[in-house]
Symmetry: C2
Subunit: 245 residues, 2 copies
């Protein structure tokens, strides 16, 4: 398989990228293909991205399993999602200057595609896939660890990654307080563009609290109302809502 | 780390399982842990399952990438989902008799937990994770390929895995017919238990067709209505709805 390099002089040579990263590909076509956005033609990086995504997931799972021996399966999943999310991948892609090497159709290029998070993240995953095909799991694994070293060493608190309803429930249960209640107060708009207004109610130390929020789905509205409730209770009662009971 | 084997004489010895599968663990505790459902206590297979899931995903992605060179990223994703879904994992787990080796709390055991799809699938993933930790990626990869050989060699048609709305759209676009229209005809029930009644309308060779279906969400109702439309059109017009235009 032979993949044509870009003839656009503004796009830098893939070899320069490989050298800068200390990578050396036996089959250089794989690297060239990893840098081709789907707007550049049929031979692009989409299939390599599919493969690279799986390698990235395993490399991060492996790190978390070994470095977070006390974390539950749920905490591990949330931590992994925080590392492999598009925004985080795009940041790493920018650090290695990946945007300068991407080949894309002129429409994408003009609209700033080489700066877009989704395109950068996909190309980074495709490069991981290309390295795996060229050299096997161990080198690809090692490269992911070096790319994501900073992100992996400064993982967020697993608790803070929980959704607001779960955090509120755990906050209340710590002091054995009753669970919050949610009620849809209003539902408006047409079927495909509805707005939900939801109330969240809890009782702490005999005092009733209520917050409300709206959202484009019942779930989103409930999460917002729970977040407001958690802020209100923490401001008012601190970390132990049932202390005075 | 030492993991206590089950003292229940009805549960078979993990070594027997490893021997039957031709696997040999340096650290046998990993195998023992992989067979412990969370109902058996704190040291269970949930974290190993988290890891094994990533290995399974990569092993299947690798196979599909190499054996389906013409498949798009979307087709690869749908094929992978068909292989790694719970039901398919549970079938493989049953083939190797995994249920006989699972350690679980007495409540789970009495309610037939060792025959449940979700528990079997999780334990199989945990075993893959244990083998990876014990022996590295290549042996775990090879084991997944031998376990899922039959499923991988008899993959479904990628087209049939598309959702009904996509299939209907592609069916119509093949003959450049206009896209189907969907309309919510009725929405009933309380906010958290709604029923949607949706109509699907298309026009082929000047003739209007309409199907309808209901579901617990607008999306589900639309998918059902699209499935009915596709069946109707194929029965009436065959594979080329716009042929006579």
């Amino acid at each position: 398989m032979s993949v044509t390099k870009s003839s656009n002089p503004l796009i830098r040579d893939p070899d320069t990228l490989a050298n800068a990263l200390g990578l050396s590909f036996d089959d250089n076509d794989l690297l060239v293909q990893a840098l081709r956005h789907r707007s550049s033609g049929r031979l692009n990086n989409e299939r390599l991205e599919f493969l690279g995504d799986s390698i990235l997931n395993l490399a991060v799972s492996d790190y978390l399993y070994r470095h977070k021996p006390e974390a539950s399966e749920g905490a591990l999943s949330r931590l992994r999602a925080s590392v492999v999310r598009e925004e985080s991948l795009a940041r790493v892609a920018r650090e290695i200057g990946l945007g300068d090497y991407l080949v894309m159709g002129s429409g994408e290029l003009k609209s700033g595609g080489h700066r877009r998070d989704s395109i950068l993240a996909d190309a980074l995953e495709a490069m991981i896939g290309a390295l795996y095909l060229d050299q096997g799991f161990a080198p690809a694994h090692a490269w992911v660890q070096s790319l994501f070293g900073t992100a992996l060493e400064s993982l967020p608190d697993a608790q803070s990654l929980k959704d607001a309803k779960t955090q509120l429930q755990e906050y209340l249960q710590r002091d054995r307080l009753p669970l919050p209640e949610y009620e849809v107060m209003e539902q408006s708009g047409q079927a495909h563009r509805q707005t939900f207004e939801v109330a969240c109610r809890v009782r702490c130390q005999g005092v009733p609290y209520e917050t409300s929020a709206s959202g484009s789905s019942r779930r989103r509205a409930e999460q917002s109302a729970a977040r407001r409730m958690l802020e209100t209770l923490r401001d008012t009662l601190g970390e132990s809502p049932g202390k005075g009971k």
